[in-house]
């Protein structure tokens, strides 16, 4: 363990990276999931297969891509396929073990909104939309979600069902004809959450170091449930922090480096 100070954001990325293994075939969402997946690859899960929706399979970028289709992803990939093949054969075909998603709005059953704030036809804020997420959410064997906690982001009722999680909870997925597991982990900047085995409501199972249960509740729009055996997330190791900080520094230099002087 390390005595080096770290930020909640770093703790989130590192905690999210720890849940991935070398056996996983992971469909990577852009942003926070992308950082976590690459930290896993650069530390304890060197053989993980990372897939981005641009069709790059088994990619190993030196720097984090700004988009899901930076050239770096293709140049370091085992292979690159077209987008129809990506979604039809590899995702719908059932080869993806983990779909790793971010969320603009999330509810306690792991349903995700990245489409709209307000009414669809008269929106307050038009967000980018689903992209690959609706089918990633239904066709990956399991879903991990990572996002920063806020009252705006974690809400009792999402404005739009972009990607179906556990719906109304319980066996709602099965009733929809879904045979995949859906959201099984939520990693925030404050805690690790897992769905209750029966109700499927996200329950805090581990608090990050220095975080109180009150803080988790203050930054969440629904009444939070905590597990009886509440654990503490192990703090980042020196190796994890070093790898993350070096990756972020390389990424920043690369993205700004294309600017015309």
């Amino acid at each position: 363990m390390s005595d080096t100070p770290f930020t909640p954001d770093e703790m989130m990325t590192i905690a999210a990276s720890r849940v991935l293994t070398s056996d996983d075939v992971c469909f990577v969402g852009i942003g926070a999931p992308s950082a976590a997946c690459n930290i896993a690859r650069l530390t304890h899960a060197p053989d993980i297969t990372l897939i981005y929706e641009s069709g790059t399979i088994g990619t190993a970028p030196e720097v984090l891509p700004l988009s899901i289709g930076d050239g770096e992803l293709c140049e370091t990939a085992l292979t690159t396929v077209g987008v129809p093949e990506m979604f039809r054969y590899w995702l719908q075909g059932g080869h993806v073990t983990i779909g790793f998603l971010g969320a603009a709005q999330l509810d306690k059953f792991g349903n995700i909104n990245t489409t709209i704030i307000g009414d669809y036809h008269n929106p307050k804020t038009r967000l980018p939309g689903g992209g690959g997420a609706p089918e990633i959410a239904s066709q990956s064997q399991k879903i991990y979600i990572t996002m920063k906690q806020s009252l705006r982001g974690m809400v009792e009722k999402i404005d739009f069902f972009t990607s179906f999680g556990h719906g109304e909870g319980g066996d709602h997925r099965a009733r929809m004809g879904l045979t995949t597991e859906g959201p099984v982990l939520l990693i925030t900047d404050l805690a690790v959450w897992e769905p209750h085995p029966e109700t499927k409501e996200f329950t805090v199972t581990s608090l990050h170091p220095g975080v109180s249960a009150e803080q988790v509740q203050e930054n969440c729009g629904w009444q939070v449930r905590f597990a009886e055996n509440l654990r503490q997330t192990p703090p980042p190791t020196d190796e994890e922090l070093t790898v993350l900080r070096e990756l972020k520094a390389r990424t920043k230099a690369a993205h700004e480096g294309t600017r015309q002087s």
Binding site: S54, G71, R88, R126, E135, G177
Partner: protein, 287 residues
């Protein structure tokens, strides 16, 4: 049948007001120069189709080219939201924009169905997704063999598909490598195509990196082929120049307000030409 011609001539020949146009390129090979030419020729009332309407459609929508958008992800990837698209959707500026919104899987399937000359695409998709409730182009069909209910969307058949490719030979055979996106499907699904390329070469197969499985669109399957070096900028061309990520980061500020956007478009699009793109990638070729 391929015809090698200038980009302004190609747009004049093929693009009409009110058409359905697809500009494809999945982060890689986005046909920015061709979009700018359509903006300069002031085409209006277009239905724009694109899986990821990023900066290229933010510009076309902000300049008033589009009435309708068929899409699956409208963001500046890794940067944020599209501010001109938002202004059109939220405030109707410069005009109202009708949205026909899908998921990536459905769009990719719909292009493939178009290329395969089928009327619709079938996928195991949209389960529990609310897009079904707001897009009447998403229907259900029952499999006649298993009884399973599946999602169906109509095939995409653009009037014109516009793409940027790496190179073409003098007959107009076109080569694409790297991240392939849906360009092959989008070209084959369309009535006509306009393809800008980085360079013309004598023999595509003589290139040092030529590979037997390279994606080639034969000259008899494409329309206009236009040489526009740098024509994807700020997107990129595999082996020619990298993605100009700094420009994507800067776009967020340029598009933040209407006047700043209009000023930028006046200087960099309306008062510019397709020949300016080569200069915009000169500093990137060294990276």
């Amino acid at each position: 049948m391929a015809e090698i011609m200038s980009l302004p001539d190609a747009v004049r020949a093929y693009v009409r007001d009110g058409q359905m146009l697809a500009f494809e390129g999945f982060t890689h090979l986005i046909p920015h120069a061709a979009a700018h030419e359509v903006i300069r020729q002031q085409r209006r009332h277009l239905t724009l189709v694109r899986m990821t309407p990023d900066v290229i459609y933010d510009q076309m929508i902000g300049m008033g080219c589009a009435d309708r958008l068929i899409f699956s992800y409208a963001g500046n990837p890794g940067v944020g939201l599209l501010r001109r698209l938002r202004d059109a959707v939220e405030n109707g500026w410069p005009n109202k924009l009708q949205l026909v919104e899908h998921s990536h899987a459905a769009m990719a399937n719909a292009y493939e169905a178009g290329a395969a000359n089928l009327p619709m695409a079938v996928l195991r998709g949209y389960i529990g997704a609310e897009l079904r409730a707001v897009n009447d182009q998403i229907k259900s069909v029952r499999c006649p063999f298993t009884g399973e209910e599946l999602a169906a969307v109509p095939a995409l058949r653009p009037d014109v598909t516009v793409i940027h490719a790496l190179r073409a030979d003098r007959k107009g055979n076109v080569l694409i490598e790297g991240i392939l996106g849906v360009q092959k499907q989008a070209v084959l699904a369309a009535q006509h195509s306009i393809i800008t390329v980085e360079e013309l070469v004598d023999d595509l197969k003589a290139h040092p990196n030529a590979h037997p499985n390279t994606v080639i669109l034969p000259h008899w399957a494409v329309g206009a082929v236009c040489v526009v070096p740098g024509g994807a900028h700020p997107s990129y061309a595999h082996g020619y120049y990298p993605r100009d990520n700094a420009s994507y980061l800067e776009w967020d500020k340029i598009a933040a307000d209407r006047q700043g956007f209009l000023d930028w478009m006046e200087k960099n699009v309306l008062q510019a030409s397709w020949q300016d793109f080569a200069g915009r990638v000169a500093h990137l070729r060294r990276l």
